[in-house]
Symmetry: C2
């Protein structure tokens, strides 16, 4: 197997030679941001949206980015050429950098890494079981590296026989740790939480799909019981049907027609073929 390349602060190096100082603020204080996008047949999907969000996250967290937006895009293209992985996930990480006092921001490390990734159509039919948990992510609009609660909850999710957790706070549904949430109302409206969430790129694209009233709106925890269908969305998951939330089965426990239709529209938009 050829060793993969990784881009660190603008330099292409072999992935296995990368190492991060233990005094980096990511390790010392969990301080960093990232973004993640998928390439299909050598084409980065929704690249500009991800780049835009990455720079927006960096700015919000007071982290300077060594490369300009166009230089970052160039680096991604170079990395893709060097690695020759047409179907992949690309992660752009920006850490707090080496900190002289273990608390203040240093020179952030900018790491672009690529790994094999393929969409799997068959996951769709299986659907997902969710449990709910009261939690509000801190700085929800910013794509930080903070997944502390999500990973902490893994044993709870597993012991409930579930696939993922849906957060709510003060009675209002927000999101899953790595995906946005949508539900279909009895009136066939498609709703997705509007506040205190990460603005997912896939969520944004779904809000622009056709054929239904799709809108951002508060969803109370009680409304979940009335959902005809529900699904989650992310760059790696596309649209995945939710078949149960807690003990409540949604509809007949199979992916519903609206979820299915939106999924087809989304994979056409992304030019994914199975």
């Amino acid at each position: 197997m050829n060793e993969r390349y990784i881009c660190v602060n603008g330099e292409m190096i072999q992935a296995n030679s990368l190492c991060i100082s233990a005094s980096d603020l990511a390790i010392q204080r969990g301080y960093g941001i990232f973004d993640f996008l998928v390439t299909v047949n050598g084409k980065p999907i929704f690249l500009e949206d991800h780049i835009h969000r990455f720079y927006s996250s960096a700015k919000s967290m007071h982290l300077p980015v060594l490369l300009s937006q166009s230089a970052l895009i160039d680096a991604i293209e170079q990395l893709m050429q060097k690695n020759n992985l047409p179907n992949s996930g690309i992660r752009i990480t920006l850490t707090g950098g080496d900190s002289p006092d273990g608390y203040s921001i240093g020179n952030p490390n900018l790491i672009i890494s690529q790994s094999p990734f393929n969409y799997q159509d068959q996951v769709f039919e299986k659907g997902l079981k969710l449990i709910t948990h009261e939690h509000q992510r801190q700085l929800p609009f910013i794509k930080t590296i903070d997944y502390l609660k999500a990973i902490y909850l893994q044993p709870t999710i597993k012991s409930a026989g579930a696939d993922d957790v849906l957060y709510f706070f003060n009675g209002v549904v927000t999101e899953c740790p790595r995906a946005n949430f949508f539900m279909v109302t009895e009136q066939n409206e498609v709703l997705t939480p509007k506040d205190n969430i990460l603005h997912g790129v896939t969520r944004k694209k779904i809000l622009e799909l056709n054929g239904y009233q799709i809108k951002a709106s508060d969803i109370s925890i009680q409304m979940l019981a009335t959902a005809k269908e529900a699904f989650i969305s992310s760059s790696t998951k596309n649209i995945l049907p939710v078949i149960s939330i807690g003990n409540k089965l949604l509809g007949d426990g199979k992916p519903g027609p609206i979820t299915r239709n939106l999924y087809q529209q989304l994979i056409q938009l992304k030019e994914i073929s199975f």
Copy 2:
């Protein structure tokens, strides 16, 4: 200058040769815990309390520790001998480890590092200015590496001319990002928040000091306005007087007599001499 040593997964290596894989869950997902203790004249202060909390944090976060408690204490002693730094800070960090999928826990990395540290008596007289901010730390009882909000708020703290931030949530005061909080009531009671905080080792020792009614109790944000004195506590700060909170000066803006008395008791207990 001699290069310092660091203990990584039980091995003593030169500190500058340490590097952490970018796929460690600390960098990928901000997942890790730590503890921090001070040595004075070659003696670790409240070592057992810190070790106990470290293992408790690790267990809560589902992170196995490679070394037993006695082996960890041995490693700390070895490190102190090798580095010959009688006055120091010792940080024990446990990361989520290399994760195969960037999400699940791998083999945690256990890193013990030592750096020069000396208590500074003169900081006491200056006192601290705090601002308040509504925030509840996630998993507050566990000493995780999550200081995202604290570092994010640094520019806000600086622009207010303050030294640190005091968190409150739902009207109840909790703690500073790296220190516990105490206030003296009009009845000369010394109160420290009881819930949703990190249980600081120094806080615990202060609760056992003599001469005053010192107790853990809810402190509402309104009660701050009535404080005759206030102070914060931590392993590195000992006791530091708070002279103002927001725009409100406490007392005459100088360290008060009860704060001063408790400080003297604490440094005697820790056998610190200036």
